[in-house]
């Protein structure tokens, strides 16, 4: 096991803990960049989809994992990002400006939404965000002159300095573009995490009272978390809109909101890795189930079984198993395996036992 001696504060907040870690991430980056050469056009498209989910997931992760506020309605902010970006583009703003502007509009909307609701805690906040997601669907339909209602909007091809990033014409180009955006967001996320703001998020998450005692403005910190989170999610939503080509209120419905939060829980709450691992699960699960179904069908000769909703059923079951047996998610499992080998033969089960506490009501403060 490697022991890193930290002698300065800079060493403590370094991006990579040690050289080997930097090496592995560099390798991962090379593989990610080379992926379109290794995969076909179809799989490259799927990988692009996973990256978009991961961008949205990172937005939600910052809110839930870092600042401890649960949102069950982030698809609403994806919708704001997508609609504002595409509407800006149709007003003549080039994509390279429209995308960040869409994100900023979403961030402002999220921050404004956060101002009154950051007083809410736990379940109240969760249901308030859920309500926003439900309302957004109907608001999009009602605001038909702007949003095209049920018919939706057609996202123009992404074009940057004359280069066209059509999903079908230039699949690898689109993949690289979105990979670059994802990396930028990862860097932003990491830098927020190690800045005073990120420390404030963690303090608010772990105990609001102690955070307040340390001189943190809890309401402002929570609202900032909301704004940054919705900014990232808005960018992800805009990309998803462009990736889908045509989108309407159904593209960003409640199911997407729920999937988003389930995704980051499966991946592992509170880590960037978790957002990506969860996105891989969400992105490839439908294909995996279809693949397994066809495989089983051909082995046992019962033809193709078509049970409506099978995918969501399996998805729900996987989630229940994860929450019960691996609440730290895929990334948590990986950390456990890694620690086992690093400490071999000294790893013990109880190293990862979480502290459980007796519950007290939240109705008496």
């Amino acid at each position: 096991m490697r022991i890193v001696f930290k002698t300065t504060y800079e060493a403590d907040i370094r991006l990579f803990k040690h050289g080997a870690q930097a090496f592995w991430y560099a390798l991962l980056l090379i593989v990610a960049v080379a992926a379109p050469f290794l995969l076909g056009d179809f799989l490259t498209g799927e990988a692009t989809n996973v990256l978009i989910w991961a961008i949205c997931g990172m937005g939600l992760m910052l809110l839930v994992g870092q600042s401890g506020q649960a949102s069950l309605g982030h698809a609403a902010f994806m919708a704001i990002g997508a609609y504002s970006c595409v509407l800006l583009e149709s007003a003549g703003v080039p994509f390279i400006l429209a995308l960040p502007l869409g994100g900023i509009i979403t961030g402002i909307a999220g921050g404004l939404f956060a101002l009154p609701v950051t007083r809410l805690h736990g379940i109240y906040l969760a249901i308030a965000t859920l309500a926003v997601s439900v309302m957004m669907e109907d608001v999009i339909v009602l605001a038909e002159p702007l949003t095209g209602g049920v018919n939706g909007l057609i996202a123009p091809d992404i074009e940057i300095f004359g280069v066209n990033f059509n999903r079908y014409g230039n699949a690898s180009g689109l993949y690289w573009l979105i990979l670059a955006i994802a990396i930028l967001i990862v860097l932003a996320y990491r830098n927020i995490q190690r800045s005073p703001l990120g420390r404030a998020f963690a303090a608010v998450r772990d105990s609001e009272i102690s955070a307040q005692a340390m001189g943190i403005n809890v309401a402002r910190t929570k609202a900032t978390a909301f704004a940054i989170s919705t900014f990232m999610t808005g960018i992800g939503g805009a990309l998803m809109g462009h990736f889908a080509g045509v989108f309407n209120q159904e593209t960003f419905n409640l199911v997407i909101s729920i999937n988003l939060i389930l995704m980051i829980v499966i991946g592992g709450l509170g880590t960037i890795h978790g957002a990506f691992l969860g996105a891989v699960v969400i992105g490839f699960l439908p294909q995996a189930i279809a693949f397994a179904r066809d495989g089983l069908g051909s082995i046992f000769h019962f033809g193709s079984i078509a049970i409506p909703g099978l995918e969501t059923g399996i998805f729900g079951t996987i989630l229940i198993l994860f929450i019960l047996f691996e609440p730290l998610g895929i990334y948590g499992r990986w950390v456990k395996i890694r620690t086992y080998f690093e400490l071999f033969p000294f790893a013990r089960r109880d190293m990862f036992r979480r502290q459980k506490s007796y519950l007290k009501t939240e109705r008496i403060r």
Binding site: L72, I123, Y124, I127, L254, L262, L359, R363
Partner: protein
């Protein structure tokens, strides 16, 4: 007169929302957990009654079918607590929220496999019968829903306030450790309240099915009911009913006097306004601790 008619049917709808919200509040009041599968419990209860009562299924007498469905849903609630929720003892609230959301997804899938996705209707003796009072048409179903809901809410309120086990439930949620010290079997109390919530969900399901058709996606009504529970103040039984009634009344009124599309937004808009004005609901259960 037209308005009055609208109000009565809205009241009956609101009572169904209130009954589902009652299930939310029961579990929350006793265990501090939020069961997002409550709407799906309701849907299951309705389908069970349908299986027991409809003449092309088992064809049991209606009242027997209702009692059986309530009992079965009680057992289902008990089992969900004993097998799933109990393992989450001492975990964070959001983990249980996600667990119950996933449970709801699975329950909707299971119901879809067993009963199919076509809307089905319950053969109930209440349907189609009505009393005429002046120009007012009072359906038996609406009347039954309102009466049953009021009785149930009052009964549960008294249960929590007066009986020993009701007090034990409140104690178990307020401070688990202290409740253990007082000799309250906290885990069994939790399982009991989940069974109770299952039974209440079955009653809500029966009353809902008596008014219209059911299909697996009926379970999503739980989302609206959770809004009702929050409007009333999570943790307050009369609050749940109040929240349900507000939503039930606002929906038909807004679709009549504002616009059809608006009526779907109104419940959630009211929820947000209530939360902004009173962050803990209308009949707030949150008190400041005296130091």
């Amino acid at each position: 007169m037209d308005l009055l008619q609208l109000l009565i049917s809205g009241l009956a709808n609101g009572c169904v929302y209130g009954l589902i919200a009652l299930g939310f509040v029961l579990i929350y009041k006793a265990t501090e957990a939020v069961n997002f599968a409550q709407g799906d419990f309701m849907m299951l209860g309705a389908f069970l009654t349908l299986t027991f009562a409809n003449s092309n299924e088992l064809g049991l007498p209606f009242w027997l079918a209702c009692i059986l469905a309530v009992l079965v849903m009680g057992v289902v609630g008990y089992l969900v607590e004993a097998l799933l929720i109990r393992r989450m003892f001492g975990e964070s609230q959001i983990a249980i929220v996600i667990l119950t959301i996933s449970l709801g997804i699975v329950l909707r899938f299971v119901a879809g496999v067993i009963w199919g996705h076509e809307p089905q209707s319950l053969e109930s003796p209440l349907a189609g019968r009505e009393v005429r009072l002046g120009g007012l048409v009072l359906g038996f179903d609406d009347m039954t829903i309102i009466i049953v809901t009021i009785l149930l809410t009052a009964g549960l309120y008294l249960f929590f306030a007066k009986t020993k086990i009701g007090l034990a439930m409140q104690a178990a949620s307020q401070n688990q450790l202290a409740a253990y010290y007082m000799g309250i079997p906290v885990k069994r109390v939790h399982a009991l309240v989940w069974a109770l919530a299952g039974g209440v969900a079955a009653i809500a399901g029966i009353l809902f099915a008596a008014k219209g058709t059911i299909d697996p996606s009926t379970g999503l009504l739980g989302i609206k009911a959770s809004a009702a529970a929050i409007i009333g103040g999570f943790g307050s039984l009369p609050g749940a009913l109040l929240g349900g009634l507000i939503i039930g009344l606002v929906e038909p009124l807004s679709s009549r006097y504002v616009a059809a599309g608006v009526s779907q937004i109104m419940p959630y808009l009211i929820l947000l306004i209530v939360l902004i004005v009173r962050p803990h609901g209308l009949l707030s259960q949150v008190r400041a601790k005296k130091v």
